[in-house]
């Protein structure tokens, strides 16, 4: 019996290690594929399904300078379990990067490379840079809040005012809170500050 308990303890410890570090290697592999999709011009990412990007396709490249110069994640279309394992996901049906409305992203806090593991460190005014096909959009953080998982208002076109027609471009990042738990959600809000068109490549 003692043997069994010790074994169970060790297995659980190993499982925790797997959650924290093992799951990240899958995300890393998928990120390579998604980022390649973005560089190759979204040939694979566009064209199918209801939105401008098919489920599982790469939407844009997300960088957050506050979280490090090498903080860079390809955003995947879709927020179901399988997509979020690939990287931060874009809620299908919410605005696309830089467009009027709310560009809503969701990402893991502790597992699968934890893309949103440190978004609690973001301060008002911090830049959230979204590199889309056509332009670079720079959002500025406007606020941060902890909400219940059922509070759908935060992903509305105008955050917290469901039903209202948006007049400006905003961004919402959501992840779980507190860390290692799924009890609540940490939500970071931002508004578009600047958009910079990409130079067109001569064809």
């Amino acid at each position: 019996m003692g043997d069994l308990s010790i074994t169970a303890g060790l297995v659980i410890l190993l499982f925790c290690a797997y959650l924290l570090w093992g799951t990240g290697s899958y995300t890393a592999e998928q990120q390579v594929l998604l980022q390649r999709q973005l560089i190759e011009g979204g040939k694979a990412g566009r064209g199918h399904g209801p939105g401008p990007v098919r489920l599982g396709g790469a939407v844009a490249l997300l960088s957050i300078p506050r979280l490090g110069d090498d903080y860079r994640y390809a955003v995947v279309e879709g927020v179901d379990q399988d997509r979020l394992r690939m990287g931060p996901g874009h809620y299908p049906g919410t605005a696309m990067p830089g467009k009027i409305g709310n560009f809503v992203l969701s990402g893991h806090r502790t597992t699968y490379a934890a893309p949103f593991g440190r978004i609690d460190e973001l301060q008002r005014g911090d830049r959230i840079v979204v590199d889309a096909r056509e332009a670079r959009y720079t959002y500025r953080v406007t606020g941060r809040r902890v909400v219940d998982p059922t509070e759908l208002g935060v992903i509305a076109p105008v955050p917290d005012q469901p039903g209202k027609t948006p007049t400006r471009a905003t961004i919402t990042l959501s992840t779980c809170h507190p860390r290692y738990s799924a009890a609540q959600r940490l939500v970071v809000f931002g508004a578009l500050d600047q958009s910079q068109d990409r130079l067109k490549r001569p064809e």
Partner: protein, 52 residues
């Protein structure tokens, strides 16, 4: 349980230690690469989105 396995291992002390280490490594690898990836999506401790 471990005492029983230990007594079943052949050879002298060095060989036994080596075989035991290999066995532990095998079990850990099966857990890490097969069992854990299968279990993890089923318990999903790290929910990120809002909504149902």
């Amino acid at each position: 349980m471990y005492g029983w396995i230990w007594r079943l291992l052949p050879g002298n002390l060095a060989v036994r230690v080596f075989t035991a280490a290999v066995l532990v490594g095998l079990v850990a690898a099966v857990l890490w690469y097969v069992v854990f990836p299968w279990i993890e999506p089923r318990i999903s401790l790290d929910m990120a989105g809002v909504g149902p």
